[in-house]
């Protein structure tokens, strides 16, 4: 017991030392995330790219002195089966204790880890700019205990915004084609279940009829049950919500079972530019949601610059495989943080938080402004807010179809 106490004291001392002595030398930014996932890997690379660009321009000016950014990362493995929240937090704690970052960017992959990480951040008091975890409880915690959780900010899409944007997108299909019968197929995990529950309410209020809704356990490889019921229940739109690689089977099975519905939702394996080749064209007509710009850039200079710089730094093949969730906000997070530190003239957390709250800038994901609960505001016009995108696969190309402000064309129903 005595040894455990001594160890705990040592860790606390290291943490406190980290928080107070990080002002010396380079500014260290920590990236504790699930590096075994595409989202985690691409987000780390995007943050590193931003740091390199800032360093190439001389670094961040803090109190009249230019300081370079250094990114340090640790794999929390939180997306792997059987890894408990505790292990992911231990990895983050290790990084904070050993590397003494002045802030965290990217952060947790899973919502459960994100919510627990907020409590750790409340103790070490350093800014935490997350870009992947989507739980709505993130904002509830900040709204409930602002002083405790004010160090946390989110640049990535949140679950409520995802529901709203998906709802708008499907309504625009309804307006154009009169479709009103929807079937949900989703992964049996918290974020996907929450998204479908919210979306069901939004669509029902908009006059849609929900033909069916099925949850599949992670790793499922046969979707014939839902596809048969969707096909013979005359569903006009099939909404998949999955972030598991096995959902690639669903994409192929929709094609092989000849389901005559518009498939419009989120299937992570169908998002990259390389997916057409991977699925041998079986994804023709599929509408896929990109949580944030990045994999496909906006027409704005900042967004275009990000993807071009990414291709230059990591190769064209890496750009073509960019994930639809994480990279854009992660790139922006480093710039937003660096700018807040510069304006604060210090790395002192309270001062940086105050400046982060005043952020109003154009990034790769559109306009970046935080709401009162530290969530970047998402909307439909990139000059006014950050945006999500939807594209439709047509003849090997990803054509933007949502939001209207950036669309390259209209949705096309199957067989059109």
């Amino acid at each position: 017991m005595r040894t455990t106490g001594a160890l705990a004291a040592a860790v606390c001392t290291l943490m406190l030392a980290g928080a107070s002595t990080a002002a010396e030398g380079d500014l260290t930014l920590g990236v504790p995330t699930a590096l075994g996932t595409i989202e985690g890997q691409d987000s780390l690379r995007s943050a590193q790219l931003a740091a390199q660009e800032i360093n190439a321009a001389g670094g961040v000016e803090v109190g009249g002195k230019k300081r370079r950014l250094e990114i340090v990362s640790i794999d929390t493995r939180e997306a792997e089966a059987g890894i408990p929240v505790f292990d992911a937090l231990a990895a983050m704690e290790k990084l904070i204790a050993e590397k003494k970052p002045v802030a965290i960017v990217v952060g947790a992959f899973r919502s459960e880890v994100l919510l627990s990480a907020m409590d750790m951040i409340a103790k070490v008091k350093i800014p935490y700019l997350c870009t992947i975890g989507m739980s709505p409880d993130f904002e509830k915690k900040i709204a409930g205990e602002y002083e405790k959780y004010k160090f946390n900010f989110r640049l990535g899409l949140s679950a409520p915004y995802l529901v709203g944007n998906l709802g708008h997108m499907l309504d625009s299909v309804k307006k154009k084609y009169g479709t009103d019968k929807v079937y949900f197929v989703h992964q049996d995990v918290a974020w996907a279940k929450g998204t479908v529950a919210g979306l069901s309410k939004v669509l029902a209020a908009g006059g849609w009829k929900v033909v069916g809704s099925d949850a599949y356990p992670t790793g499922a490889r046969d979707f014939s049950s839902s596809l048969t019921k969707a096909k013979f229940g005359s569903a006009q739109v099939l909404v998949p919500v999955f972030d598991m690689p096995e959902s690639g089977v669903l994409v192929k099975q929709v094609h092989s079972m000849k389901v005559p519905a518009l498939v419009a939702g989120f299937i992570s394996p169908a998002a990259p530019a390389t997916a057409w080749a991977t699925f041998s064209g079986d994804i023709d007509g599929l509408v896929n949601f990109l949580f944030e710009p990045g994999s496909i850039p906006l027409a704005t200079p900042r967004s275009q610059h990000f993807t071009e710089a990414y291709a230059k730094a990591y190769g064209e093949a890496a750009r073509n495989k960019l994930s639809g969730h994480g990279p854009g906000p992660s790139y922006d997070a480093v710039f937003v943080l660096a700018d807040a530190i510069r304006r604060a003239g210090s790395t002192q957390a309270d001062a940086v938080v105050a400046e982060l709250e005043k952020t109003d800038t154009q990034g790769a994901i559109g306009k970046i402004v935080f709401n009162k609960t530290h969530q970047v505001i998402y909307g439909e016009d990139p000059t006014q807010a950050a945006v999500s995108l939807a594209f439709q696969w047509r003849a090997g190309k990803r054509r933007l179809v949502y939001p209207e402000a950036v669309a390259e064309g209209a949705f096309e129903l199957p067989g059109k």
Binding site: E80, P217, S225, T228, P245, S256, A275
Partner: protein
Amino acid sequence: MKVLIVSTLIYGLVQGATLMLTALGFSLTFGLSGVANFAHGGLYLLSGFLAWALVNRLGMPFPLAAAATVLLVALLGAAVYRLVLRPVRGITLSEVISTFALGVALIEGFRWRGFTTYDFSLPPFWPGEVEIAGVSVDRQRLAIVGAGFLLPLALWAFTHHTRVGLALRGMAQDETTALAMGIDSDWAATLSLSLGAGLAAVAAVLLLPLGIISINTGYEVLLVALAVTVLGGLESTAGMIVGSLLIGFAVVITGNFVGPHLSEVVYLGALVLVLGLKPSGLLGRSKEIEERV
């Protein structure tokens, strides 16, 4: 309703055949040599990436790449016995730990080397779809059903009607007598590991074209193989076939008439129920023999 019943029959059969192919290599190796090859999932995943590399890096036609993959992985299975298992042969716990470690090393090695993107897919052997009583099904799934039923039959013929197969069975039934008859124990175990690994590769090249190759498949395949083999009866290939069909149909019936989210509950529930009623599995006899002794 008629369409849903037809769909249940077709996809239940497909699901059963899928489970059968997934577990066949594991079941065969255990039945012939008594070795529970916990590297089965790792070998399955390796086969998928190897076939992908042969097609996409060396430009081989897929059927040729698939055949080469089966051959190479079968050779690797033999090497696994010689290098990993022989030193610990007979120490069951060490056999399990060493094969499990090898499987984890293979799977995590791929993760470490960045095989986590969504780019890895294999083409089907038999592209296109057919319609059966109003239900559309792709030909690759029909090929899986065919292979799922033909392969166990071929293996049954091999182990019952060839000298090599009879020798392997003899070794499985009574090692001392088999040794007295001049059958080399190491040779038999090497061959059974090789056959099991080759069958893992056959499953990979048949099943992976349905989707994309993902790292966690390695773990899932091992769990499915274990569950199906235990359900059917550890040393019984016939039990494994019956168990696969039982679980396959249970999963599809649950998905069609209750909800797919309960399919895993049904599948694990079936496992618990069968083992509760019949501890040796559906057609296994190990517990009964042990009790009789």
